[in-house]
């Protein structure tokens, strides 16, 4: 029931957004509204801002020409490709991020050495990695498997995905009270026992949002990495290609944007399902 209410409210919010779009289009002059040279409100011509119904109806038209698949199917297909790659990069990111968090939990010195560099790593623009990963991938000898372009995309995207996991898991693994830690010291529990019985369960409330954040980062990473490596077939590439139709077919660039929105929602939703079975780890001890 509550979920139904939330979906209803979400739809209402989206509807309001569409109405706002049409309102701006109706009220603001065609060439936008500027203060001096700075355009504050956008151009509202049908080319710059197509009507919302037009964006939607364009989805059902064929991709190009009369014989091709409808646009929505092409978008879904591209979205599926990107989603699969994002899943792989999420997995890589989670494994690497968690390993780093474990290392930083175990050794205080590793924490002070690695954590600043982990933070620093996120300021390196993703695109810098594209030629690097492509080049190294081509050189890797994987036996029968040859390095595919999508693998480069997955590796590059995982570079964004590992960060929230490393930081969130570290915070979670260090979240137990001093009291609980001393209790385990009193039990003469080994480090591994403390990890499994105390730190891991206590980290769940921090870990779940981190995993969701990693999914979002993986999606963004895949979209950007597709653009920077030039891999065709995914949603990122589609966004870039369809942008060229802005003047001839203004509703068309919106299709992959809707696809990207859907992609983000599906990825986050899928990861959200992980939390369903873990309700007991979100309990907190309340001292009355």
């Amino acid at each position: 029931m509550r979920a139904l209410r939330r979906v209803g409210l979400g739809l209402a919010a989206v509807l309001l957004l569409a109405l706002l779009w049409e309102l701006v289009k109706a009220v603001v002059p065609e060439d936008g509204w500027s203060i001096g040279d700075l355009r504050v409100l956008p151009r509202t011509t049908d080319l710059a801002m197509p009507h919302v119904p037009e964006m939607l109806s364009r989805l059902t038209d064929p991709l190009a020409g009369a014989s091709a698949d409808p646009l929505w199917l092409a978008v879904l297909r591209a979205g599926g490709t990107s989603l699969r790659i994002a899943a792989v990069s999420w997995l890589i990111g989670v494994v690497v991020g968690f390993a780093l968090a474990l290392l930083m939990t175990r050794f205080a010195l590793a924490r002070s050495a690695v954590l600043p560099l982990v933070v620093l790593s996120q300021t390196v623009p993703l695109i810098a990695l594209a030629p690097l990963v492509k080049g190294w991938g081509a050189k890797l000898d994987l036996g029968d498997v040859t390095w595919q372009p999508w693998m480069s995309v997955a590796v590059i995207a995982s570079y964004l995905a590992f960060f929230p996991v490393a930081v969130g898991a570290l915070r979670g693994l260090r979240s137990p009270d001093v009291l609980h830690e001393e209790l385990f010291t009193g039990f003469a529990a080994s480090w591994t026992q403390t990890l499994v019985r105390l730190r891991l369960p206590a980290s769940v409330p921090h870990l779940l949002p981190a995993l969701r954040l990693a999914a979002t980062s993986a999606v963004l990473g895949v979209v950007v990495a597709e653009v920077s490596t030039g891999m065709p077939g995914g949603i990122g590439r589609m966004i870039l290609e369809f942008a060229n139709f802005a003047s001839s077919d203004p509703a068309k660039p919106w299709a992959p944007i809707f696809g990207a929105v859907l992609l983000g929602l599906v990825a986050a939703g899928a990861v959200g399902l992980i939390g369903v079975g873990l309700g007991r780890f979100r309990r907190t001890e309340v001292s009355a």
């Binding site: 019985r197 105390l198 309340v286």
Partner: protein, 268 residues
């Protein structure tokens, strides 16, 4: 492990000092707790009573002197699971049920599933929480949580129980009920207890001896021998003449130990 088979004292503290930087938390502390004896540590805030308990539990190390628990070092005693411990906060793991919380030390030390279950059932019965076995800690009152913590501390049949103001956060009625329960449990398990408290009546009611401590630097000011009645305590004792005399004796010891006024000691 039973008390009879251990000739050594439960706790033997010899010339212990603990300094934190320039602050001396404890200095020149000597104390012996016999097997099966109940000893309370009482004193104003900053007298080092909790520090002393932490030293005995090997949660901290002294800067001078030595401590032995059942004739071995505190570290050996901790690794051998010689003691059970309870704090002011219950410190239950919120994701484990009451039963699973009590089983925690047992499962950490490799007790099998059946053994754990049997012992937890016994303990639940002992603290009167059998019907709450499958509840989670956040579904219990503070007093019940504290009872679970005591059951957890006793789960491994320790010969020594270390308690740091375990009833400090509870209301007076719950507190008196749990005190009576603790007396009963100690009589059944015959464990030695080192009990840190703020409350004079609590210390007197529970203890064989009350160790009165004074601050700056933390040291033992006086040891009051209580040993009320024939050793079997019940609620009638709270109105006994000897009880009030002991309360007065402890209060005077506290005042003598810190003439500059007492902070943090409840006389209720």
């Amino acid at each position: 492990m039973t008390t009879e088979s251990l000739p050594a004292a439960a706790v033997h503290v010899d010339g212990v000092a603990r300094e934190f930087g320039a602050v001396t938390a404890l200095s020149g502390v000597d104390l012996t707790v016999a097997a099966g004896e109940f000893v309370s540590l009482i004193g104003p805030s900053g007298c080092g009573k909790s520090t002393l308990l932490r030293l005995i539990a090997d949660l901290d190390r002294p800067t001078a002197g030595s401590i032995q628990v059942f004739g071995r070092s505190t570290e050996q005693a901790r690794l051998a699971h010689d003691y059970g411990i309870a704090f002011q906060q219950a410190g239950l793991l919120p994701w484990r049920t009451v039963r699973a919380n009590i089983e925690l030390p047992l499962s950490l030390h490799g007790v099998g599933r059946a053994g754990r279950r049997e012992r937890a059932t016994e303990m639940l019965d002992l603290v009167g929480l059998t019907e709450f076995a499958d509840h989670f800690p956040d579904q219990l009152s503070g007093g019940m949580q504290q009872r679970v913590a005591i059951a957890r501390a006793l789960a491994e049949r320790p010969s020594l129980l270390l308690m740091d103001e375990p009833f400090g956060a509870l209301d007076e009625m719950t507190r008196e009920r749990l005190q009576s329960e603790l007396v009963r449990i100690c009589a059944e398990t015959r464990a030695a207890v080192v009990f840190v408290t703020h409350s004079i009546p609590e210390a007197v009611f529970l203890s064989d001896r009350v160790v009165v401590m004074s601050p700056r630097p933390g040291r033992i000011a006086e040891v009051v021998d209580v040993r009320l009645g024939d050793g079997s305590r019940n609620d009638a004792l709270r109105e006994d003449r000897a009880y009030f005399e002991a309360v007065t004796a402890v209060r005077e010891a506290l005042h003598g130990g810190a003439a500059t006024g007492l902070r943090g000691v409840e006389t209720r």
